[in-house]
Assembly symmetry: D2
Homo-oligomer: 290 residues x 4
């Protein structure tokens, strides 16, 4: 007799994001790259776009190690209004240029309904940050964009609320949604967040959308990123997002959780073995243009 | 020898919100009403504006029981995109009308940077909801408004982050900021949130801004609201925000945590005694126009 | 039409602790003192018994300010095995002596099933600490004692589990159980714990047992204790437990959260007013013998 | 330049458990079996010992699939005093017998200082459950036993406190300590606990002791156990502990999170591949006697 699956999540409002609607996994295609298929995607890059040199150096390094998508923030949601807020449109231009040179598609955060159009011009994937996962106005607005959207889980969002955020985007017309687990807030003070890998099989059970794991924010310590990236792939994630900085000690933000290009390269070797162990492989990087 | 005060919060970025800048409590004035002074303010009204009849009936009832400010949401940040999202501009008009008839100033939520100007035309106080406490673009935008802003604590925001949200508004030019504790998310499932009354003396120690407590969201149960409102005043809050609905069982949202007008009236009697016990009194209601 | 009470706690196992069994509040009597009646009890004293001088000085001071029960730990559950572990039986003797001199009944913690008999010889009330709330063997053992038992809520215990801990004691024959809310563990780092005052009306709704609040552990800061003690009485608790040390800066444990006798005296004046505001009064202290 | 390791945990009291004391990993040997070496150990069996038939059937099945240690509770720390509390000494005898027949060493929980001697007679490893991680009296008592001790992390224990619990045992003379991450309590309601895999590299950084992961309690859902077991090995754990019941739907406790023997067998196949991917292998099972 088969064991009964129990899932104590109310899925009645998941009209588009739920497994009941689409049995097949959603695969999001960006050029030749597929997210949510049998290959594992690796998103890598610095927390914030700081300069052309920084982006290009880092992008080439991570691409050469096998990264498939480039990350970098042009608009940064910092806790303090006096912290570096990002290069804004200049940052978007640097991102686009780096993408053209390296062949890597780019993902970057959008924080304001009024910027969705602008950011969509430069980015291949729009990122909704943790702090805006409950920003319903923004979710509706990116729901009208033609670009894929990656939603990071809010720091205290339940899985049910996380999936409803995806539903907000989909209900507004954009069905290209990627979910990203990046750690939740708990009482444990030794790590920046508690990475919730339970969420991956639970989300896979409930939705057909791809799910990515961010062990950089999930731990807050660069030296914890490789083992947690391994765990993310082992547990069934469709990819990982990794902060890499060519000079972490000089990073304008998140230096403590950024790998060096060398550390990233080493991580990729291990990750590849774990991917193979669970019947997947790392997605091929972009064709090198430079 | 005096006992040493210890406060383990990094206040270095609180350039405008911190006690080091302004020793005196900030008092925010709306007509004759003062928030943050020696009187306790009571904000009351339904979760959402549903109709003229609903607003007017409720407003008159809460005013007659001693409420000093009227609340009601025209834009509602609901978890599901398929739930009632508010009457939007029509709701704002009903709010304004009710204010004119009853003499009560009104507070209502703004969720989108593009709506700040519109909402400012109708509201006396702009509310930033819990889900948008980390929405830096919105905080900056209301920082340019001439209307006072009440920020509700994010459901997983530390007190430090809460004060930095106020700093975002103030750094953009608007120093009329009110804080609102409304419960944080914990493991306890029997209440909607865990109301963090520790936050009140801690906030009072760190900032000169007024602080309000919302026991309706903080508990999720109408029958728990009166004792927690008492506790809020006893612990030193400058006021409370209470959900009241003339027919809770028919409310489009938050019926379980809404008091009836009769329940609210009874609560006010008890609250007045507690206010007197801590050397305060309930602020006088608006002059009755109707 | 009456509003419906909703309580999402499974009370089916509360055969003795539940309101369905005993409608009337349980009142626990120790000599002339009643816990759980219309008077508010104040338990005060140091975290740990350190010396005769310390206990006697503190006990007389708190009694003169109106405390009704003396606290002091002889066995201390410290996080590190190398921290002071308490004076053990010598501490119990000092407690008893101080009780005889001052007329104050004493409460002290028992941590080991093998010590229940010993501690029962010296204490008027047995305390089960937070760290042992889930220690079922100990709960069963104090259930066989003839002394009243005060159970402190575990730092991550739900209210349902808290009440089931009381049920463990009662199911073993001892129905004299007092509950004590002392803060739960959350993400907020500025306070030692998050005092959960929501728990008081919820517990009062579910059980007939008396409930005490400990704002010293609930906040971790002595200067936050008086406002939170006020809040505890305003929300409906049957009493408070307060750490007082005659020289907090020299305390072997919990100095940061201990009031001086002067601070305690000042707190009592405020507390009395709040008690009167909610229709109660502070229980009379013991008859002075010294 | 090497990146700096940051670890924000106070390790000053880790005199025996800390890496500063012993650089080499502790390897605990039970017969031919090594815990903490290059092989991954798999502890499997039912939540509670229910009968000879149940234990023997399950033990043989899990051994045939590659389990290296048998688990089963004779004393059960149940939330309700009216739930099944375990077969007690009869359960210990069944465990011993099953061990003799199958060749599997056994681990079982001890809950009371007075039972340590008794349980030590029957068990190969003593288990301290989550609910007793802060039970200092019990930690001291097992510190005097000659049997290895596995401590499960308290549901709200920080990693620092978890390691201090190990220090309690070691400070009392028993240096054979195994740690077990089994999930912490968070706001997420869809899983029983949130398995904290961040804890594994953090613990490995701070201590030389072996660390095991329990995905059964860590998730509460049997269908989530295999992916999380994979993740546990990928992240660097020395083993996993898995609940297996021959008839989960009839289990007296934890049926929802127990794998069937068939499910367990399938899990082991996957686990072996992940172990190889990270340069380890599953420890060989006991020599079959039956």
């Amino acid at each position: 007799m088969a064991q009964i699956y129990k899932v104590n999540v109310n899925t009645s409002a998941l009209k588009k994001a739920g497994r009941d609607t689409y049995k097949e996994n959603t695969v999001i295609q960006i050029g030749d790259l597929k997210i949510g298929g049998s290959d594992v995607v690796v998103i890598a890059g610095p927390c914030a776009v700081e300069s052309k040199e920084q982006m290009l150096t880092t992008a080439q390094a991570v691409r050469d190690s096998g990264a498939t998508i480039l990350r970098g923030g042009a608009f940064k949601p910092r806790s303090s209004p006096y912290s570096f807020q990002g290069l804004e449109e200049e940052g978007l231009k640097i991102l686009r240029l780096t993408s053209q040179i390296t062949g890597l598609p780019v993902i970057t955060e959008v924080m304001d309904t009024r910027q969705v159009e602008l950011v969509s011009e430069y980015a291949d994937i729009l990122q909704i940050g943790s702090r805006n996962m409950h920003n319903m106005a923004l979710l509706k607005e990116v729901g009208k964009s033609s670009k894929p959207v990656m939603i990071k889980r809010g720091m205290a969002a339940t899985i049910e609320e996380f999936l409803l955020a995806a539903e907000y985007v989909m209900a507004n017309g954009n069905e290209q949604v990627i979910l990203c687990e990046r750690g939740i807030r708990t009482f444990e003070p030794s790590t920046r967040n508690t990475l919730d890998l339970n969420a991956i099989p639970m989300i896979k059970q409930l939705t057909h959308l791809p799910v990515i794991v961010d062990p950089s924010h999930g731990t807050g310590h660069w030296w914890m990123v490789p083992p947690l990236a391994n765990a993310a792939i082992a547990v069934g994630a469709d990819g990982v997002m990794i902060e890499v900085h060519y000079k972490p000690e000089e990073a304008l933000s998140d230096g403590d959780q950024s790998l060096t290009p060398e550390g990233f390269n080493e991580m990729m070797e291990g990750l590849n073995k774990v991917a193979l162990a669970v019947g997947k492989k790392i997605a091929s990087p972009a064709m090198s243009l430079v």
